[in-house]
């Protein structure tokens, strides 16, 4: 099938081109700039686990919103760019998560995500048929990420009115261009990681991405990978916009399964690889290790030591990080490879490390009630701040087969009724759309706010059950978005060169920072029939019909005659004996 391009063909085509110099054409605009950065943050957790967070950021000064089609790609992945262009996407956020982030043990993640798959998209206001575009987009993304995103349909899509504001620039308020969906059941595995890695300019060949080996990444307690596309400002004055693609991957390695119970971590132990070079395409390539709790090295020992320390304000706290700059040859030392070693002291005697600062906001959710008819969803939101109250937005999308009784909605804090200042409720329609409940709540200081609502379980049609209906049905996580009061002054200067992990959520004021918390997904049992039932019903009905019909038929067609009543049993036995004895019969 391979043919060598023949020489005569080549010759035939080239001379006229040479006579038609490209200089005669108007000069093409200079190629748009693009920039790639990579970053890994390692945070030792107090439980002895370790949290690693990768961020890869590509910023491209291309105008996706304009009329001109973007078609020449350099660092930005073509497959994603084509999707953004074709479906007129303004912002796209997609995450795949395996496991649940334990806020009380681990603190806040740099980038929160709910278990399963989550997708939210802001479309440009030129899109006329948003629902149709959304449907097509989910199908295409499902192909790109090898995920079941094609199961997103109108029954699990909502349009939040307040919770998901655009994270990029653009003051869009018309939430009819926003779609949000979660698939809490989605299992994340290698087949999702491979296409995600393909979007990176260096693939898995160089730089931090060599660490992304699936056999280690999925042998962990928590794994979350995400893609965020949004328009950002190019310069402080924000005259022009660029497209930003952030690929993030967060993983928590467990002390006992991955660490064999030893409080000692190294890059090799975590990823079974070490770092040897930065991605040559990256303008910055850094590894940060959180050493805030370890200013003098009393908790753990970090080797090789790095003289570089940096401070960043992240999640309302000022943290100190040791920095390894991979673009500098010195970081790799004489062995030409960087294998960071983090050894906790006192690992053998059971000295409990200092208690972590309690996260200011966290939440729990569960289903209460018994039986298969009614139930109650409880959502508990904790405000651990000792003296500040702050507002939160609670969003929950509940599938239609749990019929919420909205009149039973109660919100209480510290035993008192807490009236939400804003409620947006969209009732469900059977087999068409889910319930959407959004509330703005004020959380009193140091309190637990409990939101309860009762529901009734619906009976599904027999084809609507999932393949293993007795496992139960998932209800996606509730989302709590909040502006949490900050302990230290937040950095509002967005132009400053900050580490990637602290610059995702835009920060507008110094006194508070934005945070999102996802609750647990719920697993609810629905009344499940025996699936051989349809056949049994058919058989039973047919038999009843047949019996009724048979007797009717007999009544109509048979002729009836009076018959001599037959002799009784005693008489018959007597006759037998009589015949035997030769005596005349009775």
């Amino acid at each position: 099938m391979i043919a060598i391009t023949q020489r005569h063909v080549h010759d035939a085509a080239v001379p006229p081109l040479a006579g038609d110099p490209p200089a005669a054409d108007p000069p093409s605009p200079p190629p748009s700039k693009d920039d790639f950065q990579e970053e890994l943050v390692i945070r030792p957790l107090h439980s002895g686990d370790i949290y690693a967070s990768f961020q890869f950021r590509t910023v491209w000064d291309a105008d996706f919103m304009g009329d001109q089609k973007v078609s020449h790609y350099r660092l930005f992945p073509k497959s994603l760019g084509q999707v953004i262009t074709k479906f007129s996407v303004r912002e796209l956020h997609i995450s795949f998560t395996q496991g649940y982030w334990r806020t009380m043990q681990w603190g806040q993640p740099y980038l929160p995500s709910p278990p399963g798959a989550e997708l939210w998209v802001w479309f440009q206001d030129t899109v006329t048929d948003v629902d149709g575009t959304w449907k097509e987009l989910t199908n295409v993304l499902s192909g790109i990420f090898c995920a079941s995103l094609n199961f997103i349909d109108s029954t699990n899509t909502v349009q939040p009115s307040a919770s998901f504001k655009p994270l990029g620039i653009g003051n869009v308020t018309d939430h009819s261009f926003l779609r949000y969906a979660t698939l809490p059941r989605e299992i994340v595995c290698t087949e999702n990681l491979t296409p995600w890695k393909k979007l990176l300019p260096c693939g898995s060949k160089a730089g931090l991405s060599v660490l992304l080996k699936s056999e280690k990444l999925f042998h962990s307690t928590f794994h979350s990978q995400a893609v965020h596309v949004r328009p950002v400002c190019q310069d402080p004055q924000c005259r022009t916009t660029s497209m930003e693609l952030r690929q993030t991957l967060n993983v928590v390695f467990d002390l006992h399964t991955s660490g064999q119970g030893k409080r000692e971590w190294s890059l090799f132990k975590m990823f079974s690889r070490t770092l040897t070079e930065a991605c040559p395409l990256a303008s910055s390539s850094k590894v940060y290790v959180d050493v805030t709790d370890n200013p003098q090295g009393e908790q753990f020992e970090l080797s090789p030591a790095t003289p570089l320390l940096t401070q960043a304000v992240v999640l309302g706290d000022r943290r100190t990080y040791s920095v390894y700059d991979l673009t500098q040859q010195a970081s790799f030392g004489s062995s030409r490879s960087l294998n960071m070693l983090l050894r906790w002291k006192n690992s053998h005697n059971n000295v409990v490390p200092p208690v972590m600062l309690r996260p200011l906001l966290h939440s729990e959710r569960y289903v209460a009630g018994y039986g298969l008819q009614a139930g109650e969803i409880h959502t508990l939101i904790y405000n651990h701040h000792p003296y500040r109250a702050f507002p939160v937005l609670l969003l929950s999308a509940v599938p239609w087969y749990l019929r919420l009784y909205i009149h039973t909605l109660t919100v209480s804090s510290k035993g008192k009724d807490n009236r939400p200042s804003y409620i947006h409720y969209q009732p469900s329609k059977d087999r068409e759309r889910p319930h959407l409940l959004e509330m703005l709540l004020q959380l009193p200081p140091n309190s637990v706010t409990e939101v309860t609502v009762e529901f009734e379980r619906a009976l599904l049609k027999w084809t609507e059950y999932t393949p293993d209906p007795n496992h139960g049905f998932y209800v996606g996580s509730s989302v709590i978005s909040a502006l949490v009061p900050s302990v230290v002054a937040m950095d509002t200067n967005s132009t400053l060169d900050r580490p990637l992990f602290s610059s995702f959520f835009p920060c507008k004021e110094e006194a508070s920072y934005f945070m999102r918390v996802y609750t647990e997904p719920l697993l609810v049992n629905l009344p499940t029939p025996d699936f051989s039932m349809p056949y049994n019903v058919i058989c039973l009905t047919c038999t009843v019909v047949a019996v009724g019909y048979g007797s009717l038929y007999n009544l109509l067609t048979r002729t009836f005659q009076v018959d001599e009543p037959s002799p009784g049993l005693a008489k018959r036995i007597a006759n037998v004996i009589r015949r035997f004895r030769g005596v005349p019969l009775l």
């Binding site: 099938m1 391979i2 043919a3 060598i4 391009t5 020489r7 063909v9 080549h10 035939a12 085509a13 080239v14 001379p15 006229p16 081109l17 040479a18 006579g19 038609d20 490209p22 054409d25 000069p27 093409s28 605009p29 190629p31 078609s71 020449h72 790609y73 350099r74 660092l75 073509k78 497959s79 084509q82 999707v83 262009t85 074709k86 479906f87 295409v140 790109i144 393909k198 300019p201 260096c202 693939g203 060949k205 160089a206 040559p280 395409l281 056949y535 047919c542 038999t543 019909v545 047949a546 019996v547 019909y549 048979g550 038929y553 007999n554 109509l556 067609t557 048979r558 002729t559 005659q561």
Partner: protein
């Protein structure tokens, strides 16, 4: 006794009437409720289309310039003349070619144009005089003594739809106008076959429909090189940089596409929609390790190993998720410093001048060596390298022409074909492509629609929606229109209708609703039906048998009484 007899009669009547009700009401009801919905399809018209009779008509205008006709010949030459040729391709495909020639003498302006010093200028000025419609051919006959054509050249074909033909020597032509036409006609046919279509082109275009006897390996490869006709194509240029550490590559793809590829695609716009994009792939390797040839001090890739190059690269290329049109890939591979220079060798172990190869219906790969741009080792890595796009695009353009089926088949002896200009494509080349694409579309659409009709006919359980029925009908209508336009010689409309036909036929064929096969296995059907039907039918059947046997007995009794 009489009452018993009346009672028996009543029972028989009841049984009979129940049987009648079951047959008249029950059976049709059951039939209707379990029937699958099947919309009406124009089966007869589809069957007619299965026997394809295509007639291709070309308008040929033959213009005699001064000095080619004697006055008495001029009077006798007819105004029009039609030539027909019928070819039977296989049992249900016949082709007829119809050349409608119009003869006239040149007017003064055309005479002036033909007096230009060179043929190319004459071609241009003739074009400005009159633009001939798409699909037609104009042949200017010039006297033997004219200096317009160089020595030894009898026919000149320019960029447009005109050709200049040199009249043979007056001796051989003869005096009679019939002899004159007999002399000219085969040569004009030859010109028309070069400029519009030849029988081999058309049969190649029918390959979807007609299984041709495999000819030579060469011709098979030729016929399989170009892409199938499609309403749109995606052209992707990829720059493969296996080692971004040693060189940083820069290519002005936007400018190159604008000045080299876009003119050709603008010209081809009536044929299909094209979209172009480009990407740079880093750490993309070839699938084979090139061998080092110490005599050349270079790495070589043999023609045999080229087949293994594409697969590993293709995994990185990515498909266009946003469209389903076929993708033409053009890859520019810049080998890293340790593996360069890299040369491609053909089967005779000779280096290929273009250092490129193509894979039929997939795209092309070119190797671009940059080792001479590294300098003498003192420049720090990575080296910034600008790629000479003129060199690259020359090769890619040639490959693109091949992939799109713009054939540059060698001209017959005595023909001078002007090389294609800035647009990369002459008008008559476009016509040629349009002829074969129209025939190909018609052939593909008929095959699709006949096989769909066959399939639907064979599997009775498939539901046929109204939507599919309307798609099928619109396919049939467009096909009929396309065939009619081909017969009338309106190439542009024929292509348009054939495109519509192919789109509608594909939509009908790949409609997801056809997958909803209402299929229940027979054993399940029995399991469902038996509990109802068995208890209902057995009494009816038994009583019918009883009635029949009683009637027979009565007849026997009557007969014996008669006897």
């Amino acid at each position: 006794m009489a009452t018993a007899e009346v009672e028996r009669k009543r029972g028989q009547l009841a049984a009979l009437s129940i049987a009648v009700v079951v047959v008249l009401v029950g059976v049709p009801l059951w039939w209707r409720t379990t029937e699958t919905y099947r919309a009406w399809l124009p089966v007869n018209q589809i069957n007619e289309l299965a026997e394809l009779q295509l007639q291709l008509s070309v308008d040929v205008e033959v213009v005699f310039s001064r000095g080619t006709l004697m006055p008495e010949q001029q009077k006798k030459v007819p105004f029009t003349r039609t030539q027909e040729e019928a070819q039977k391709v296989d049992d249900d495909t016949t082709l007829r070619y119809r050349y409608e020639s119009k003869y006239r003498t040149a007017n003064i302006m055309e005479e002036d144009a033909l007096k230009q010093p060179t043929a190319a200028e004459a071609d241009l000025s003739l074009h400005t005089l009159s633009a001939s419609p798409c699909g037609s051919v104009v042949v200017y006959v010039i006297p033997e003594t004219s200096v317009l054509l160089p020595q030894g050249v009898d026919v000149y074909i320019g960029h447009r739809r005109t050709a200049v033909l040199r009249m043979g020597a007056p001796m051989s032509v003869g005096k009679n106008h019939k002899q004159l036409l007999a002399h000219l006609e085969p040569r004009i046919t030859q010109v028309v076959q070069v400029m519009s279509f030849s029988h081999t082109d058309i049969t190649a275009a029918l390959s979807d429909r007609v299984r041709l006897s495999p000819g030579s390996k060469e011709s098979l490869a030729d016929s399989m090189r170009s892409f199938k006709s499609s309403p749109g194509y995606e052209i992707t240029f990829s720059l493969l940089n296996p080692d971004p550490k040693s060189h940083r590559l820069d290519w002005d793809i936007e400018g190159a596409v604008h000045s080299y590829i876009q003119p050709l695609l603008t010209k081809l716009a009536p044929l299909a929609n094209f979209s172009i994009d480009s990407q740079i792939l880093y750490y993309a390797m070839l699938g084979v390790n090139p061998r080092f040839d110490s005599s050349l001090e270079a790495y070589t890739l043999n023609a045999d190993s080229l087949a293994h190059v594409i697969n590993p690269v293709e995994a990185r290329l990515g498909s266009n998720a946003a469209s389903s049109n076929p993708v033409l890939n053009f890859l520019l591979y810049v080998p890293d410093a340790h593996h360069s220079p890299l040369y491609i060798h053909d089967h005779q172990k000779q280096p290929v001048a273009s250092n490129a190869f193509h894979s039929p219906r997939w795209g092309g790969i070119m190797v671009y060596n940059v080792n001479d741009l590294y300098g003498r080792g003192e420049t720090p890595l990575p080296v910034n390298i600008n790629i000479n796009m003129e060199k690259v695009m020359g090769v890619f353009l040639a490959q693109l022409r091949l992939m799109l089926g713009v054939q540059s088949s060698p001209a017959p002896p005595g023909f001078l074909v002007e090389p294609c200009g800035g647009a990369g494509l002459a008008d008559w080349e476009l016509d040629r492509l349009m002829w074969s694409r129209t025939v190909e579309n018609v052939a593909t659409a008929t095959t699709t629609i006949t096989s769909l009709a066959q399939l639907l006919d064979q599997i009775g359980n498939i539901v046929i929606n109204d939507n599919i029925a309307s798609q099928v009908s619109s396919t049939v209508t467009s096909l009929q229109l396309a065939v009619a336009e081909l017969e009338a010689g309106n190439l542009g409309f024929a292509l348009q209708y054939s495109k519509e036909a192919i789109l509608a036929s594909e939509r009908a064929f790949f409609d997801p609703s056809l997958l909803h096969l209402l299929y229940f296995p027979d054993d399940q059907k029995f399991a469902i039906y038996i509990p109802l039907f068995l208890p209902m039918c057995v009494p009816i059947l038994l009583s019918l048998i009883k009635i029949a046997s009683e009637a027979r007995q009565r007849r026997k009794l009557k007969q014996s009484k008669k006897d």
